[in-house]
C-alpha cells in the first residue's frame, strides 16, 4: 500500500515537474538538433492557469463592447441632430461609446497578455437574439437613459459570469488573475455607471411628471453638458 502511494506521489510529482519544464526541455532539444525548430513549436507560451477555458467568454465580452460602442454612437448621433439639439445627451452617449471602444481594445490586449488570442466571431446567444428584432436607437431622453441602464446592467452581469467561471475551484477554470482583473477593470466602474443612470431615470421621471417637461429637459440637458 505504502509503496503504491509512494509510487503515485512520485508519478504526479514528475508530471508536475514536467509541466513546469516544457519550455526548457524544448529549448534544449531545439538547440541540440541540427534541424531548426520553429519558435511556435516550442512549448514556451505565456499560457498558464485557466485562460484556455475562459478565453471564449473574454472574446465575447470584447465583441459585446464593440457592439455597444456602435449603439451608443448611434444614440449620441440622434441627440445631435438639429431637431433634438441635446448636446448634453449627445455628450453622455458619446462618452459611453468612447469608453466601450477603449475598454474593448484594452481587453484584447489583456487576452493576449495571458497568452490568448482574439476571435471577432464570438458572440453570446443573447446578443444574437437582439438582432432578430428591429433595433431603435432614435430615442426620447428618458427612454435613452433607460436603454443605457439596461445595457450597462447586462454588461455588469456578464462580468460577474466571467468572474464566476474564473472563481470556480473546478479544474481548468480557477484563475484568480482573471477574476481579479475583471474586478479591477470592470466591476467597480460598472457599479458607478449603473448608479448614475438609475439616478438619472429617477430625476427625469420626476421632472417629466411636472407641469413643464420641455423646460425640465432643457435644464437637464444643460446639466449633462457640464458632467
Amino acid at each position: 500500500m505504502k509503496a503504491i502511494i509512494c509510487i503515485s506521489v512520485l508519478f504526479f510529482a514528475t508530471l508536475a515537474l514536467a509541466a513546469e519544464d516544457y519550455c526548457y526541455k524544448d529549448v534544449v532539444e531545439a538547440c541540440k538538433t541540427t534541424t531548426k525548430k520553429s519558435v511556435t513549436a516550442l512549448n514556451c507560451t505565456a499560457k498558464y492557469g485557466a485562460i484556455d477555458n475562459l478565453q471564449s467568454k473574454l472574446q465575447r465580452y470584447v465583441n459585446h463592447h464593440f457592439i455597444r460602442s456602435f449603439e451608443y454612437l448611434l444614440m449620441a448621433t440622434h441627440f445631435a441632430n438639429y431637431e433634438k439639439n441635446r448636446e448634453g445627451f449627445e455628450k453622455l452617449f458619446r462618452g459611453f461609446s468612447d469608453n466601450k471602444w477603449h475598454e474593448a481594445i484594452e481587453l484584447i490586449k489583456y487576452i493576449t497578455k495571458r497568452g490568448g488570442e482574439m476571435n471577432f466571431n464570438e458572440l453570446s446567444e443573447g446578443i444574437r437574439d437582439e438582432d432578430k428584432e428591429e433595433q431603435d436607437f432614435e430615442l426620447l431622453e428618458l427612454s435613452s437613459v433607460a436603454k443605457a441602464l439596461d445595457i450597462e446592467k447586462k454588461l455588469a452581469l456578464e462580468a460577474f459570469q466571467i468572474h464566476e467561471d474564473a472563481s470556480r475551484k473546478m479544474n481548468g477554470f480557477h484563475d484568480p488573475e482573471v477574476s481579479s482583473h475583471i474586478e479591477h477593470e470592470f466591476v467597480h466602474k460598472q457599479r458607478d455607471i449603473v448608479r448614475k443612470l438609475a439616478g438619472y431615470t429617477t430625476d427625469l421621471s420626476e421632472l417629466l411628471n411636472g407641469p413643464d417637461a420641455s423646460l425640465s429637459l432643457y435644464l437637464f440637458d444643460e446639466y449633462l453638458q457640464k458632467q
Binding site: 519558435v39 511556435t40 507560451t45 505565456a46 499560457k47 465583441n63 464593440f66 457592439i67 456602435f70 449603439e71 454612437l73 448611434l74 448621433t77 440622434h78 445631435a80 441632430n81 438639429y82 431637431e83 471602444w101 477603449h102 481594445i105 484584447i108 490586449k109 493576449t112 497578455k113 497568452g115 490568448g116 488570442e117 482574439m118 476571435n119 471577432f120 466571431n121 458572440l123 438582432d131 433595433q135 431603435d136 436607437f137 432614435e138 426620447l140 431622453e141 428618458l142 427612454s143 421621471s205 417629466l208 411628471n209 417637461a213 420641455s214 429637459l217
Partner: protein, 211 residues
C-alpha cells in the same frame, strides 16, 4: 353589464393618462430650406461612415494579431490599434459633418451594421500586414473619391462645401497616410533582405519608440 365594462375601461384609461409622463414634445416647424444636400450624395456619405468603421475593425484585427505572445510585435500592435481608433474618428467626423448640414434626422438606427467582423485575422509577417494596410487605405481613398464625384457631378446641386471638406481633410490624410505606410514597407523590406528576424525585431522596437 356592458355599460359597467365600458365605464371601467374609461376610468382606467383616465387613470393611465394622468400617470403618463410627458416624454415627447410637440412637432416643431423649423424651416427646411437651409437643408440643401441631395441624393445620391447623402446616401454615399452615409455609406462611407460604415466603410470607415469596417477599416477600423480591420486594423483592430491586425492589432490583436501582433499583440499575441507567440508573435510579440508590440510596436506593430500599438500602431494598428491607433489606426483602428483613427478610422473610428473618421466615421465620427463624417457623422458630424452630416449633422452640421441638417442631415441624420431619421434612419439613424440602421446607419451602422451591428458588428463589422474583420475577415482576415492573421498575417505572415509585419511586411504583409503593412502591405494589407496600404491596400486598405488605397481602397478607402477610391471610395472617398467616389463620394466626391457623387456630390460634385450632380445636375441638381454641386455640393462645393462638402467636396472641399472631403478633398482638403480626408484626401489629404489618405495621401499622407499612404505615403507613410509605403515608406515603412520599403524600410522594413530592406531591413529584412538579409536579416529577416533581426530586421523585423528592430523595426518593431523602432515603432514602439515612435509614440
Amino acid at each position: 353589464m356592458k355599460l359597467i365594462c365600458v365605464a371601467i375601461l374609461f376610468v382606467s384609461a383616465i387613470g393611465l393618462t394622468s400617470a403618463e409622463l410627458q416624454c415627447s414634445q410637440k412637432e416643431l416647424k423649423i424651416p427646411k430650406g437651409w437643408i440643401d444636400m441631395v441624393n445620391p450624395c447623402v446616401e454615399s456619405m452615409r455609406n462611407q461612415i460604415e466603410e470607415e468603421l469596417k477599416a477600423s475593425m480591420r486594423y483592430m484585427a491586425m492589432g490583436a494579431y501582433f499583440s499575441q505572445d507567440t508573435i510579440n510585435r508590440p510596436g506593430f500592435a500599438e500602431m494598428f490599434f491607433k489606426s483602428a481608433s483613427e478610422e473610428r474618428e473618421h466615421a465620427i467626423k463624417l457623422i458630424h459633418y452630416l449633422l452640421m448640414r441638417g442631415e441624420l434626422t431619421n434612419n439613424v438606427s440602421k446607419l451602422i451594421k451591428r458588428n463589422l467582423i474583420p475577415s482576415t485575422t492573421s498575417w505572415a509577417n509585419g511586411v504583409s500586414a503593412l502591405k494589407d494596410a496600404l491596400e486598405l487605405e488605397t481602397s478607402v481613398t477610391k471610395k472617398i473619391r467616389k463620394v466626391i464625384q457623387k456630390c460634385e457631378d450632380n445636375e441638381k446641386f454641386n455640393d462645393y462645401h462638402l467636396v472641399d471638406y472631403l478633398t482638403g481633410e480626408f484626401l489629404e490624410e489618405q495621401y499622407k497616410g499612404q505615403r507613410e505606410i509605403a515608406g515603412q514597407i520599403s524600410t522594413l523590406e530592406k531591413l529584412m533582405e538579409k536579416h529577416g528576424a533581426l530586421g523585423e525585431w528592430l523595426f518593431d522596437k523602432k515603432l514602439q519608440g515612435a509614440e
